[in-house]
């Protein structure tokens, strides 16, 4: 192709392109007119609704999820706003759920009363969903009405056996009620259903701790190991070696007082009066024994010593039997029941033996004190040498007692030989006895016997005795007694601290003596002076 041809071809091309462009532009212009007309028509036409019926993508998904949730468990279904279902039961359920939602908002606001009302309505509308019960249980729990909480939890469990929340809330309620064993059961149930529930694990540890603490304190589950106890361990046998005999059910008897045997030895060491003091607030052993024995009068004998001996003997007889009983208990390696049974068998025997001696005991008691023989009661447990302090205690106990025995039954103690003996005995005695007792003391010894322990109470007592008994009986030695009293070292102070009543008594005594025929004016004057009575 020559250059000329090339140039021509290029020219032709350019011209053609220009023509094409020209045509295109013409075409474009005409198209512009067309499209503008079309556009105007379009403007006039009504607004076409855009693709209206096609669902929004996210709405399509909610439809899907709604279908899924409907098929899943009712309890977990979301209670969001949905179209009313056609099924009447489903409608009821939805209504109940709405009420429950209202209750939930109340709970969030802390208004448990209103929430309980809402949940109760929900249960009334649709009683088959445990969630309402669980929620109401929570409200009760918050209100600390634990019994109602437990009831609701049980209702929920009846509807759904695997309702973890119900078990957990019942556990909480039981814990608050102090039913630790129940709580433990519920807690283990929760963990059985949901082994990874951390809260339940924590609760389990807490309850176990508490149970262990109680058990070590005073639990019925644990008794200290007795020496010589044989522990029987279970034996693992392969199935073919196991006995073919049917299992026999052994009746298990509850022991009412399993700790009695343990205390048995201790019991021997505690004296009766101590027990009396502690448990009966000093109402007296004597009286108690009297009650058990219908005939206390047949032995009103006063001859103490021999009786006391017999009592000592019987008590000694009793003692061995008791000791054997005590010995038997640990020696026999039998189950606890038989052991205690043996004990209870033995104890009545010893009681029977002891009972006849009881009246003697009471009969001899007072003379024994006078004769410095140890009281028979103590012989059971204590050595025969009873110090005076102990006897004093006994005497005090009986004197303090309002129901103390009548003076007929009490025997006048022998004249005291020492100050202590006097004071101990004196306080025990009734008015007439005091008169007798005072009379039995030789007048010259009186000053010495009163001794340093002479106090205002005793002094007032003495005066009263003299006033009440010596004066009416016109005892000849009244003045001597008074004089002897005045010789005591403590007297000066006591005289100074005499109350008006006592002074009146003294003056009446002295005035009475003054009128008596056999009177010693010198002594009388002396007495007036000593007692400070004009």
């Amino acid at each position: 192709m020559s250059a000329q041809e090339k140039a021509f071809e290029l020219q032709r091309q350019v011209r053609q392109n220009a023509r094409e462009y020209e045509n295109s532009v013409k075409d474009l212009y005409s198209w512009e007119q067309d499209i503008k007309n079309k556009e105007k028509e379009l403007q006039k036409s009504p607004l076409s609704a855009a693709n209206k019926d096609l669902p929004v993508r996210s709405h399509v998904q909610t439809d899907k999820s709604r279908k899924e949730s409907a098929s899943s468990s009712a309890a977990s279904s979301p209670t969001e706003k949905q179209d009313l279902p056609v099924d009447p039961v489903a409608q009821q359920y939805k209504k109940a759920n709405d009420i429950k939602d209202r209750g939930n908002t109340y709970v969030k606001q802390g208004e448990y009363e209103k929430a309980i009302v809402a949940y109760s309505t929900a249960i009334a509308v649709y009683p088959h969903d445990p969630i309402y019960h669980i929620n109401r249980a929570l409200c009760y729990l918050k209100q600390e009405s634990f019994d109602q909480c437990v009831e609701d939890c049980e209702a929920a469990i009846a509807l759904d056996k695997l309702c973890v929340k119900a078990y957990y809330r019942r556990m909480q309620a039981n814990e608050s009620l102090g039913n630790n064993m129940e709580a433990l059961k519920d807690c283990t149930t929760v963990l059985a259903i949901e082994p990874k529930n951390i809260e339940a694990k924590r609760s389990l540890a807490r309850i176990n701790d508490r149970l262990r603490k109680i058990a070590t304190k005073s639990g019925p589950n644990f008794t200290p190991d007795r020496p010589g106890m044989i522990e029987i361990l279970p034996i693992e046998k392969p199935a073919y070696k196991r006995s073919k005999k049917a299992m026999r059910s052994v009746p298990v008897v509850d022991v009412v007082s399993p700790r009695a045997t343990i205390d048995d030895s201790n019991q021997l060491r505690i004296s009766d009066e101590d027990i009396d003091k502690i448990f009966n607030s000093n109402c007296g052993i004597i009286e108690e024994v009297k009650k058990t024995n219908p005939k206390p009068t047949p032995m009103p004998d006063t001859s103490g010593p021999p009786k006391a001996e017999t009592i000592a003997k019987t008590s000694k007889e009793v003692k061995p039997t008791k000791q054997t009983a005590v010995k038997v208990a640990p020696a026999v390696e039998t189950p606890k029941e038989t052991e205690t049974r043996k004990d209870t068998k033995i104890v009545p025997e010893s009681d029977n033996e002891a009972k006849p001696s009881a009246p003697k005991k009471t009969a001899v008691e007072v003379p024994k004190v006078q004769t410095q023989v140890s009281p028979p009661k103590t012989t059971i447990e204590r050595s025969p040498e009873v110090n005076t302090v102990q006897t004093e205690k006994i005497e005090q106990a009986s004197s303090n007692n309002a129901m103390s025995p009548s003076p007929i039954e009490r025997f006048l103690p022998p004249a005291p030989t020492s100050t202590a003996q006097f004071h101990v005995t004196w306080k025990e005695l009734s008015g007439p006895q005091k008169y007798q007792y005072l009379k039995s003391i030789e007048v010259p010894n009186l000053c010495k016997i009163l001794g340093a322990g002479f106090d205002s109470d005793t002094f007032a007592d003495l005066l009263r005795t003299i006033h009440d008994f010596f004066v009416p009986n016109k005892e000849p030695n009244t003045a001597a007694v008074l004089l002897e009293i005045s010789k005591n070292d403590e007297f000066t102070i006591l005289a100074m601290l005499m109350s008006a009543e006592e002074k009146k008594m003294v003056s009446s005594i002295l005035n009475a003596i003054k009128n008596w025929p056999s009177k010693n004016p010198a002594v009388l004057d002396n007495l007036f002076k000593e007692y400070g009575v004009a």
């Binding site: 474009l28 512009e32 379009l42 855009a50 096609l54 993508r57 996210s58």
Partner: protein
């Protein structure tokens, strides 16, 4: 000699930066979205009037506009979905553009790219808008639903010191709808600045496929949105142009593709390719012929390509799996329009060969392409 020619028909110089140009469907008007020097957004509507452009309407808003689309709008109510520099997605009615029809804070960062579907197509699902943003998220919107996206494809939150948090997240530069051949099926392709290409299946809400290009992805387009996906054109930094055959997905190799590494370089009128490897900013398929498409490059040149299918699109590999076979790319025409990159381009849906493009030299051009009817 009977190759198509890309002829600049009209040219309009503007006093703002153009970011997007779009034809208004069924009209001789187009919309220019841009950013003024003071950072305000501007939307101008121009109408073709013989040999000149007439500005019909101008709307200025506080925030610069980045991208827009009419894809979700019906022919009658011309609602344009616009993404702006602050991550706000608004839908404006062209008749009353002052008050948005729909307005949502869609992203934390600038919305780089937008695509929409369902406006005019029939039987292809709900009208939806997809946005890709600098915050790395790709979100699908339905203006009938309130302020929440219907689908949110955000990257997982990054662990780290919080200072370099932004670097951890990929910047989404390109999104495109596709595969919308019935009411359920729909696919979103998303390209990221690190070259990641992700194909999201909106029906199953899963990632259908992902791959990584050598360079960041600037442009994406399916040859047709409303057919079972056929081809996907991808343009990248440094002049890459890839066309994937989307008909056949191999279990391990995925989709096969054909690559053109020189698509960004300028082409002289004598056919000599020269200059640096420039970014290919945009790819647009011809609405009237899906095998022809145009790319706009960083050197201010545009090129028209034809995809030639292979003899057999699918072969069986040694394992018996089906493997797609990519075709060949054939450059039909090229033209240099500007000294600055041509970054936005739109074929008129109704008039063959009519197009509008914007470049960073603050001007828009109306192009006429001849002889396209011969293909």
């Amino acid at each position: 000699m009977d190759k198509p020619q890309l002829i600049e028909h009209l040219h309009e110089a503007l006093n703002y930066t153009v970011y997007d140009t779009k034809w208004v469907p069924l009209s001789a008007k187009f919309v220019i979205l841009g950013s003024k020097a003071n950072g305000h957004g501007i939307m101008d509507i121009y109408e073709l009037n013989q040999d000149k452009l007439v500005k019909v309407k101008s709307v200025e808003k506080k925030v610069a506009f980045k991208c827009g689309t009419f894809g979700a709008a019906s022919l009658r109510n011309r609602h344009m979905a616009i993404g702006d520099f602050e991550g706000r997605l608004q839908v404006l009615d062209m008749e009353q553009p002052d008050l948005p029809v729909y307005n949502v804070k869609a992203h934390n960062g600038i919305i780089n790219t937008i695509d929409a579907i369902g406006g005019t197509q029939i039987d292809c699902g709900a009208p939806e808008i997809v946005t890709g943003s600098r915050d790395g998220a790709v979100k699908v919107w339905d203006i009938r639903q309130g302020q929440a996206p219907v689908v949110d494809m955000s990257p997982p939150p990054q662990m780290g010191d919080g200072v370099n948090n932004s670097s951890g997240r990929r910047d989404c530069w390109a999104v495109a709808f596709g595969n919308t051949y019935n009411a359920e099926e729909r696919i979103v392709a998303a390209g990221y600045d690190n070259g990641d290409l992700k194909i999201f299946d909106l029906r199953s809400l899963s990632v259908r496929w992902e791959a990584t290009m050598k360079n960041g992805i600037c442009g994406l387009e399916f040859d047709r949105r409303d057919i079972p996906m056929n081809k996907l054109a991808v343009t990248t930094l440094e002049g890459g142009l890839l066309v994937f055959d989307m008909r056949t997905q191999h279990p391990t190799k995925g989709f096969s593709y054909v690559e053109e590494r020189n698509a960004g370089r300028s082409v002289g009128t004598n056919g000599v390719i020269s200059g640096p490897k420039a970014t290919v900013w945009v790819v647009r398929h011809l609405p009237q012929n899906r095998d022809l498409f145009l790319t706009g490059g960083g050197t201010g040149s545009i090129r028209l390509w034809q995809y030639e299918y292979p003899d057999r699109r699918v072969i069986d590999d040694s394992d018996g799996n089906k493997l797609g076979v990519a075709g060949a790319l054939n450059m039909l025409s090229a033209a240099t329009l500007s000294s600055q990159p041509v970054h936005c381009f739109d074929w008129h849906p109704d008039k063959l060969g009519l197009a509008v493009c914007g470049a960073f030299d603050q001007s828009v051009r109306v192009l006429i392409t001849t002889k396209l009817n011969t293909f």
